[in-house]
Point group: C2
Chain length 346, copies 2
Amino acid sequence: MSSQMQQIVLASRPDGAPGHDNFRLETSDMPTPGAGEILVKVAYMSLDPYMRGRMDDAKSYAAPVPLGGKMEGGSVGHVIASNADGFAEGDAVFGPFGWASHAVADARMCRKLNPDLAPITTALGVLGMPGFTGWYGLNEIGKPKAGETLLVAAATGPVGSMVGQLAKAKGLRAVGVAGGPDKCKLATETFGFDACVDHRAHDNVSGLRDALKEAAPDGIDVYFENVGGPVLEATLPQMNRFGRIPLCGMIAWYNAGGLGDGASSQGLTGPKLWRTLLVNHLTVTGFIIANHWDRYGEFLTEVAPMVADGRVKYEEDITEGLENAPQAFMDMLRGGNTGKTIVKVG
Amino acid sequence: MSSQMQQIVLASRPDGAPGHDNFRLETSDMPTPGAGEILVKVAYMSLDPYMRGRMDDAKSYAAPVPLGGKMEGGSVGHVIASNADGFAEGDAVFGPFGWASHAVADARMCRKLNPDLAPITTALGVLGMPGFTGWYGLNEIGKPKAGETLLVAAATGPVGSMVGQLAKAKGLRAVGVAGGPDKCKLATETFGFDACVDHRAHDNVSGLRDALKEAAPDGIDVYFENVGGPVLEATLPQMNRFGRIPLCGMIAWYNAGGLGDGASSQGLTGPKLWRTLLVNHLTVTGFIIANHWDRYGEFLTEVAPMVADGRVKYEEDITEGLENAPQAFMDMLRGGNTGKTIVKVG
């Protein structure tokens, strides 16, 4: 076993979009697992939009990453030393190992994986937090009904592609939004969306609105909201009465500097938003998937077989090397990824 | 029967708060009821905040009042000529008679009242649209649970007082917001609110926020939203996780000039609002009570006995004379009324 490990820490808080200066690669001694803990060699780590929020010190649903602290996140890897019952050397595990080559974690926070059932990377995407987010939000809040129209942005991402495929399976018209013709093609040809709007082809809200109108001629009943920004602005007026909006993210605004004054230049004022909800009898429900892990088993039972037999497809975008995680993260926030963003660490 | 009638028409569209110039009192010949219609002499007419929205020509859930058209609204009165089965001269009726001394209406749009059960004015307030709005929004969207805390603004108005009293009856802590010490006293002493915050005593959002914190020390689970503006801004950060917000109005913003640029100076940006919903797992559902008249019978069955035996109290603010309706309406929009605003016409 090597005697040293590497990790990426938060060097400074970003003002707007993160840059390389905000991250620092550090080398430290290999830790030893205490009672009930395991030491894991990370194989793949996840990069997710929510991590941008943790870099700010604004009050949120989770504590911010402290300055100098390890960037947090879920990863998969293999146990190389165990002080916990039920975990043995060589076991494949998912856990909160963060942006690191190795990590010690409380075994109760980790989950053993069966590599024979699915590649372990799926625990980061299609069968992990993003896929579960799509499943939960669509079903519990979106309450989709056959014949309705669903819209989701970041349609080829791990949340959007799950939402679109599940909606199709339930008999809805699924409309996606994605950046660029290649992603739109992936959305319709691989993930089965009925239509996909390329938001890069429309440099203003009204152009986007017209394109959505064409893609969703009967209006939108369920808008699975994970981006905010211009897509939200273009979508709201096209929501049908009694529409539902599961709200799990707003990546377009994550770099807006705390969403305060910097964001008030957006065309969408609070009163305008409120009025649209009122007039169209819309329901918006925000949700943080971390509050719903009690439903995860139900998700796996339903969706894992669909992944196994190809009814639910997934794409992964794998970058090699821990040191390249910051660049991959920045690219992802700009929509440079295609599919679930993963860094191969081991 | 007099041969002439009077009505108030929309003379021009207001820019911000309405003024006398926006209204015109007109005299015209008495109309004759056609087949299926009744002619009614109006006794009392209702003034409600939603009427402000009808004065604009913005797209909304109901068509705007046309320029030169009669101001719309619900009224109660007595049939003086009937061409409709089931309606006879002298019958007390509720219907869409608008701001007028007399009106002809399709009898299918009217409802006979029994003056022995309750004063006919109650059909405009506590047992009419406002009371029904409070009952529906609280129960269907607010989903109140004993031990929780409810907040409602305009606490002594016909919606707010219904919401507060029903919440108390269900075992919630009911906190009101009202303008001035007299209304706050009315809220606690007559309507039984546990506490009432005087928004006029706080000239900024943060002062209001502190006062709400004191009045609702355990946070707010249900915010019955009928005002928008600073009260909403002060309330949002104090919503408990999984809180519910039935949204039926936003009177604080009705004079904001179409809620566009004029309102973007409000501190509450779209992104900020969205983020609060997300982080605190809140559900907002807009509703227009006109879509739910199928539940009205259920409301009356439950609440009419509570009004009859005094468990649900109500206040009426009655102005004399049709010609004084514009002034009473403007006063109401400024919060100058106490209780349900009614104009005695007959």
